[in-house]
Symmetry: D2
């Protein structure tokens, strides 16, 4: 990244976001089928509002806000910055139309280019920290765009393809190799963001700061993610009908929601399983990692399989132990939006898919690291206020930009969420 | 209407619907801010599906359905015709996009023209009854389009104008004349659809059939609708804070919803009252009829004013008594979408605004007339199954096509609904 | 009734209420399984509060209120009289215990005896109207006690008997005779309270006042209520699985609530039908009227049977036509709390069960009669504020005191309610 | 405890439960004002059902179950043991009455005495483990009885005293000494149940097993709990109106529920603060620990005070460090049901109130310890299935039996719960 200027870096991130929305029709960009999923138009505008609010208003002399009400429309959750559209109502707002949101983006981009022109690199800017945060923030929304678009299209009875093609059949793969258990030594380790030990320098979120010592017992980790074929055995063995595998609140959900398989899985009249993808309905790929499962399903599967989920400490200790091989997964840049199957030839002595493909549920609640400090002002609301009732996920997914992920990255969702690319890594 | 062919009549109705949607952007046609309000795109498609289902599939040999899943998407409530998208989820469906819905309309229109070509008039077709029902049905959805679009734009913080103009101020009018009380003689009368006594011939809904004798006591009716100026007195006298004027369930609603004025009324920081219109926010017009009120508000106002609402029998008896003057109101064709103010010169011996301007809440539940029979088959679900928990409204509104309304017309809504053009006619 | 003094009349009504609660344990008198059902202890106290508030405080000089907070606890719905326990929370209040409520009753009774001592009859008291209202009010709560106690015991998995006995089997009866259709002449009639034409003099509720002329077409009425045997045919013919018989909101309820038969009906493993009674679970009595059905079920049954429900005008016209035979039913005083089967010998030229046995759903919404006036003050909240979204029932039930019912009596419940003794009278 | 026989031990625990219920009226034992609070009658029966199910049915030859439906009524959450009354409906069940539940207790006690007669001590019984679990389980319900009874009486507008007295004023105390910060050394420690290091032997729950090594950084702990006086400063400084102190989900709750102070705090018209206690409303005791606060309030207070909550690892490390002084608090046996004020003379070098008085919220989610194993069969549902979305509390309270608590004890509640005796220990 050293060779690109601040302006180039900014342009590259912004362009990527728009590329993701290009296959969409204006109608697709407005709807919000569930509260978790925001309309793509909202993502396009909200990320723009972030730069306008935290950079242009603060640092570009004479900057005039594009529209006085956009702050009301496109503020996500910053109480410090005033009232806003209820999150559940984002799908009821038809105006500004998509074209106006692109105009908003162009206006902000133009002024950002003006602001960034003097700097050879992001790090050279006096507001480098906030600029970097804005770029990382937009990358987070790129991932959300991929998963939210998938959800929006999935609820449509026409099961449209994001890519626009018709009747394409995505090839499935030969069976995955049996998983191997790899030993991870116990003892004292350091987790959290540590640029000196190989973490990409220049940025991490505040929730990763405070690298600290942890003690873990020796344990074994499976060298790849759980596959669709393996998970299907759990489904077919009646896993969704036996309370013994489930946490109590998970079992209540299974019954209330009628869950019988991961999100997007559909059993055809002939008994075969398909799943909804960005290419519409496709046959299940047995060698690919199972994804779109809640923490409850991950945990129930682990019980059924006689194993367990790692803590986030264990995950990071293992990941740092096996790191070099960890980078071989699928990321946003692969432009496939599907976790990659494990090749049959995968080396059983290596730990695969640690980064990319699927976020890995850990059995750790999302709590502050020792010494955690919220940023002052509105940006203090970025991470800290969510540190309750959510579980940590690690490793990124096939919708995460490669430049955005690292071993210390802490993602977090409530344990019932399924619309992200979530998967299972077993330990014992 | 005698002079136009079946095909011309069909084309005229269909064109009117599309004209109403012309000012909208694709994004506006997708959203559903509350369950009562359907996305305009859905209206466009649903009315088309009606012709396809009940006419083309039945009567045009060799007709091929445009898309096999459109019946699932665009069936409103006909259990006889299979499962469908939940009413509350109409706003989550982005595809087919607006352009495809227009293509669907064009396809069906083309085949309808083919089907209708032989007939000099609607009445000549062997399927005249269903054809007429389809046209009247589309006219009902024209009114819903006007009111649904108004609601959709009203929830948008940008308060956009349907007409697309900016900063227009709609002129208000001089004060309305004081209302006069007109005497209606009691005794036996006939209500219900009676073509022989001047009702437009050729069509009525099944719920108007069974003209029958009713006995009413003599009563007095106010010669115009209650105005904004009059209703404002009720608001300012604390009408929304005094339970004594309200039905129990109405009072609960006032408190739960925080109602303080009619829907769309907004008090400005300077204390003046504005209301949301198709031209955005506009000052209250004191001489215009109050509208967008629930039955509960109409009834509470009547109590406060020392009067009451008419029964539907009284309304029709009065309307037939004063009928000729009744037709002077505002209709869909006026293209204004706002109830018209009463001119200061209005004749106090006439009964004004009986038809058009605002639907008038009656204190009659929507129940079957004596001898009511549901149609056989799916069309039996058109009216009969709604005959519970709704109140009858009479007289049409500024969003009702003139050719669609008549003295025997029975509209019906739940007593809490406010997004239609509803108003108050007092009797005593 | 002429021969009894005001004090005797008061004592008789009050004693009857306590007799109804005598078989209950303190624990039974506290619970509220659904919002419609009030704890018996609350009924005992609320009726007492009514006399204290409207009579003793107003008319007995020097009267001291028994407890300053009982008005908060035992006011039902009178906004005029201040705030109160939420209706839904009546079952969370354990104190005052039952014994204290009886002490409250004794205290109020003692003062009421003092107040009433001078008067030879209720009518002689200067506050006769409110006194009579208090007594009728308490009789209304006697009926509610019977139905609420039944509901409370029914939700208990132990299915206890109100009477305290065990393993009693209530005998069922021979089949009822086939129903006959009796002709009712049409034309002008007067409905509403008319003491001069035989209505018991001295009392009616304000909602019956305003006797007025109505016009009805000639019609036929069935000479007895629909029986369990007849309703069972509807059940077994799949009536609960066919939307065509149902109003839309009724059909939604059937599906949401999983209704498959009237409330309290239970199908045994051997396929036979039982129902919960004050004697616990008992076999269905084929000749007895079906009861504990909603308006929706009554209407659906009528459709299935090729008939319809009467309007309240028709009901009263028919009842006045056949009145003398109408009085042969079962009332509270029969002390059976079950509608009586129709004897096989019942005279087919008479109209049976018009009064007593079951409240008969009419297809009339509960609206004000012409000229209806609310009483001034708090008692104006007694009836008028409920005149929306409820349906009129006529004729009283096996839980109605005989001295409380008359031909003009208008009871009212929401169309989904089933815990009262509601039944079906067909007309055509 | 060595000197008492199994039968004596059993009798002592059972007697204690009944003593707690002795001041209650039958009516008090039936109601369930919120889902968290079970009716006392249910607690009495459920604990009995536990012994019947897990001991008598298994180990007493020829034992006949007291009533075939009690398992349905009094099973709490064991899916393994079949269907049961919904938790939310426990307050709708009036029968069996309290007297029958006492008879059930007597019947089971008699058979338990028979079963236990041969054993000199609990540990001698072949079923010692389950017996001990049953006794500990009943002690847990003793604490719930104290807190549930308090809640039940608190929702009653009569604000009754559990002790039955009237107009008693509980004396408050002189101000507490300023808190001191005590240093806790960091490094490796062992947490979890370790009988060899002084934990009372003989019993712990499965969730404490798996003593394991943890690493903590050095930290400081406050030497007493936060007092009412300190918390009142937070209240009066506007702590409940400033989102910056709150976790996002906590802030939502504050607004939805209108929280302005801890549960049971009531501001009098003169501005002074009272709180509901087992003696009814009493003035706030400034030196006593604040209690009945949610995790969200504890965390917000800590932010406001510039400190934080401990993790459960830190809490146990600190507690083991300071243990001997930890035992000086208030327990169930103190029979006061109120946390004890800190004496002004409290030694600032000691760590007070570690055990007893208030459960201390930790910032640790309730998750399994390394190597956690659920018990086989129904008892496997005792603890494990709750290990999600709940926070660990440590140290016991004034309602915890002294013989029931220990340093490794892990209690757990959702972060919004306030009806337990919960308090705040600050660290930094």
């Amino acid at each position: 990244m050293a060779a690109i200027t601040a302006a180039e870096r900014y342009a590259a991130v912004r362009t990527q976001t728009e590329a993701l929305c290009r296959p969409l029709l204006p109608e697709d960009t407005v709807v919000q089928p569930i509260i978790d999923v925001s309309p793509p138009k909202w993502h396009l505008a909200h990320t723009t509002w972030f730069f306008e609010t935290f950079l242009l208003k603060e640092h570009l002399p004479g900057y005039r806000v594009y529209h006085p009400q956009y702050a009301y429309l496109f503020n996500s959750y910053y109480n410090s910055l005033g009232s806003r559209v209820n999150r559940a109502d984002r799908g009821t707002i038809s105006r500004p139309p998509l074209a106006d949101v692109y105009a908003y983006r162009a206006y902000v981009d133009e002024h950002m280019q003006q602001l960034l022109a003097p700097y050879r690199a992001v790090a050279d800017a006096p507001f480098a920290e906030v600029l970097e945060l804005g770029l990382q923030h937009e990358q987070q929304h790129q991932e959300l765009l991929v998963t939210d678009i998938k959800y929006i299209l999935s609820t449509n009875p026409l099961a449209p393809s994001y890519w626009g093609e018709q009747n394409v059949v995505v090839p499935t793969t030969a069976a995955a190799p049996a998983p191997a258990w790899l030993q991870v030594p116990g003892g004292l380790s350091t987790i959290g963001y540590q640029p000196e030990t190989g973490d990409p320098s220049g940025f991490c979120f505040d929730n990763e700061l405070g690298a600290h010592t942890v003690y873990v017992e020796p344990f074994q980790v499976q060298n790849r993610l759980v596959t669709n074929a393996e998970y299907l055995q759990f489904v077919e063995a009646g896993g969704y009908a036996d309370f013994r595998y489930w946490l109590g609140e998970g079992w209540d959900l299974v019954q209330q929601q009628g869950w019988q398989a991961p999100l997007y899985w559909v059993q055809q009249p002939d008994g075969s399983w398909h799943r909804f993808t960005h290419h519409g309905l496709q046959p299940l790929d047995p060698a690919a990692p199972v994804t779109h499962i809640s923490f409850y399903e991950a945990d129930a599967y682990a019980h059924w399989a006689g194993a367990r989920l790692p803590t986030e400490q264990e995950w990071e200790v293992a990941a740092r132990h096996f790191a070099p091989e960890g980078m071989a997964g699928q990321f946003l840049e692969s432009n496939r939006f599907d976790p990659a199957p494990v090749p049959a030839s995968a080396d059983p002595t290596q730990c695969h898919q640690l980064l990319g493909d699927c976020w890995e549920w850990t059995y750790s609640a999302y709590h502050p690291y020792p010494g955690y400090q919220k940023a002052p002002g509105a940006l203090g609301e970025y991470n800290g206020k969510f540190m309750i009732n959510q579980m940590v996920l690690r490793g990124g997914s096939c919708a995460t930009p490669l430049s955005h992920i690292r071993l210390s990255y802490r993602n977090f969702f409530h344990p019932d969420k399924r619309w992200q690319y979530t998967g299972i890594r077993l330990v014992k």
